[in-house]
């Protein structure tokens, strides 16, 4: 027995109406989830492939796998194997799996300089056997900023070590550099003695010695001839070099003239442009000033300050 009689016509079949409403809502939500799932690829058939990395650093579950810039799958699990290496499972959409060959390589990259890390797949050699579900592929880490920094470090450190060593050698009293300098100093002192002896000998020169000096003079003559030959060669090549220099100077002159002409041509336009801009700014200011002193803006905007600048006894 009903406590209250439903006399209102609108309450008739209320249960049915509410049920239909709720069902429609549930159906809507379900369809929404379904379409979202399809769009997200939840229902797309996928196959697992694997790779092993020395370390799991920077590799995360959910990381996208891209081929030629398109997402073809994602990393679904990451675990440590018995050799303490990271074993990564990738789920690749079945329609893209035939695009990868057995020698395909997956590399860890960044999208842009500061972008997210992604796994980028390379197809492998053309005409090679296709990759099958459950197979393993090669993995390599490639050049992010850290890698570049590491490479730089690897190259710089030996160079710095060498420089350090050289400086140590230079400072070491028993090192080659110091020894060489010491030898040179000794040699210089010896040379002074030698020169003194030569001066002494020149003072006592006689005919017999002239005969001894003749071979040396011949040698000097040969040297002079060689020098002459070099100068001759230079004389031959110099005109060509001068021509090339002249041509370069001509090019520079032409460039300079082109720039000058460009500036000359654009200067009047620039001046006109500046003038027009100034005019535009002035007109805009006029409009704004006029508008600000007219109703209704004059009630909203503060009147422009004028008259004497305020100055008090402590300014």
């Amino acid at each position: 027995m009903k406590l209250l009689a439903d006399k209102d016509e609108r309450f008739k079949s209320l249960f049915v109406k509410v049920s239909i409403f709720v069902l429609l809502a549930v159906l809507g939500v379900t369809l929404n989830l379904l379409f979202s799932g399809i769009k997200k690829g939840f229902f797309t058939p996928k196959s697992a492939i694997y790779f092993v990395a020395g370390t799991g650093q920077d590799i995360k579950v959910g990381m996208p796998v891209k081929l030629s810039g398109f997402k073809i799958g994602s990393a679904t699990s990451l675990e440590l194997d018995e050799k303490a290496q990271a074993r990564v499972e990738l789920m690749i959409e079945n329609r893209y799996l035939p695009l990868l060959n057995e020698d395909a390589v997956v590399s860890l990259k960044k999208e842009g300089v500061i972008g997210d890390s992604i796994l980028e797949a390379r197809r492998g050699s053309e005409g090679g056997p296709q990759l099958k579900a459950g197979a393993s592929i090669k993995f390599e880490r490639s050049g992010g900023l850290e890698q570049i920094a590491q490479d730089l470090r690897d190259r710089l450190y030996p160079a710095l070590d060498e420089i350090n060593k050289l400086l140590k050698d230079a400072n070491d009293p028993k090192g080659d550099v110091r020894q060489t300098l010491s030898n040179l100093r000794q040699f210089s002192a010896d040379m002074q003695g030698t020169r003194a002896r030569i001066d002494h000998m020149l003072g006592q020169i006689d005919e017999g010695i002239v005969n001894d000096v003749r071979p040396a003079l011949r040698s000097v003559k040969q040297s002079a001839e060689s020098t002459e030959a070099i100068i001759g060669k230079l004389n031959q090549e110099m005109p060509g070099l001068i021509k090339k220099t002249d041509a370069s100077l001509d090019n520079v002159r032409q460039i300079s003239e082109t720039i000058k002409s460009a500036v000359d041509n654009s200067a009047p336009q620039l001046s006109g442009f500046l003038g027009e801009t100034r005019g535009l700014v002035s007109d805009t200011r006029n409009i704004m000033d006029s508008a600000s002193t007219s109703w209704p803006l004059k009630n909203i905007m503060q009147p422009p300050e004028q008259g004497m600048v305020r100055m008090d006894s402590h300014d």
Binding site: R285, D289, S290, T293, S294, W295, P304, E305, Q306, G307, M308, V309, R310, M311, D312, S313, H314, D315
Partner: protein
């Protein structure tokens, strides 16, 4: 019935048109002045705008332009006003030499076109600049001129009195400084001069050993200066409070106020607007 409906429709369409015509009539352009006068006016407006925005260098250039334009039109009162404004900006930029040259130019003008109020304003500003520079004797003579020209009828009479109080304070005549400052406070001067008078009174009271009264005046001045948003004055008030609190032996409170003063001074100094201004106290 049909006619009535037709009338209503006509009325509905006619109203916006009438309203637009009415608005157009309200917004009619004012009559144009000669170009040079308009340019001088525009330069003056732009200078005030630049000053309001804190661009002192631009304000200086524009006031100079306005002054030259008015001079070229032989408009002496307007050029004197522009010169006074230019001197104020020059003083704010720390170029007191240029400011004094401009003000002396107005004060030495013997033509009748410079009104006593303009002379008084020029003399008052000269007094302020000289007082800031520590030239008390010269400042006093400038104040005498200001007092004579003003004859207690200028808008800045309380400023003149405060400046006299300041000079008395600097001379060590604390009772006289306190008396003048109290007169300014009782006369109901504008806020900025009220705050200045309170600060002078507080300093005089501190020198006279009336520390509680001094503290109260400093705090009242601080409230007003905060309302007026004047950083250098806020810093001055805080530093005054520190001195009084130290004399009262309230060191922990003094330390807090000292820290506040330092923060205000440092922040104001780091503001780009203040980079070209004269240094804070």
């Amino acid at each position: 019935m049909i006619n009535q409906r037709f009338d209503q429709r006509l009325f509905k369409y006619l109203m916006p048109v009438l309203l637009l015509v009415f608005l157009d009539a309200c917004g009619s352009a004012p009559p144009r002045q000669p170009t040079a006068i308009e340019q001088a006016g525009k330069a003056d407006h732009a200078a005030h705008r630049a000053l309001h925005d804190g661009d002192l260098m631009r304000a200086r250039e524009l006031f100079k332009q306005s002054m030259l334009l008015q001079q070229s039109l032989d408009n002496l009162p307007a050029s004197a006003m522009a010169a006074i404004n230019l001197s104020s900006v020059s003083h704010k930029l720390g170029d007191d030499g240029a400011a004094l040259v401009l003000l002396d130019g107005i004060l030495s003008d013997t033509t009748a076109q410079i009104t006593p109020e303009l002379r008084a304003a020029a003399a008052f500003r000269k007094g302020v600049i000289l007082a800031d520079a520590g030239k008390a004797v010269e400042a006093e003579s400038a104040m005498a001129v200001a007092n004579k020209e003003c004859n207690r009828q200028c808008a800045f009479v309380s400023g003149i009195n405060n400046l006299s109080a300041r000079l008395a304070l600097e001379k060590g005549d604390f009772p006289y400084a306190l008396a003048i400052a109290k007169n300014v406070m009782n006369a109901g001067a504008e806020k900025v001069e009220q705050a200045n008078a309170m600060r002078i009174a507080a300093a005089a009271e501190a020198a006279l050993g009336q520390h509680e009264a001094s503290l109260a005046h400093y705090q009242a001045a601080l409230e007003l200066d905060k309302e007026l948003a004047l950083s250098p004055r806020i810093a001055e008030d805080l530093k005054g409070i520190v001195k009084v609190l130290e004399k009262l032996g309230r060191k922990p409170e003094a330390d807090i106020f000292a820290h506040r003063a330092e923060t205000v001074i440092e922040a104001a100094r780091l503001l780009p607007v203040n980079s070209a201004k004269k240094s804070l106290p």
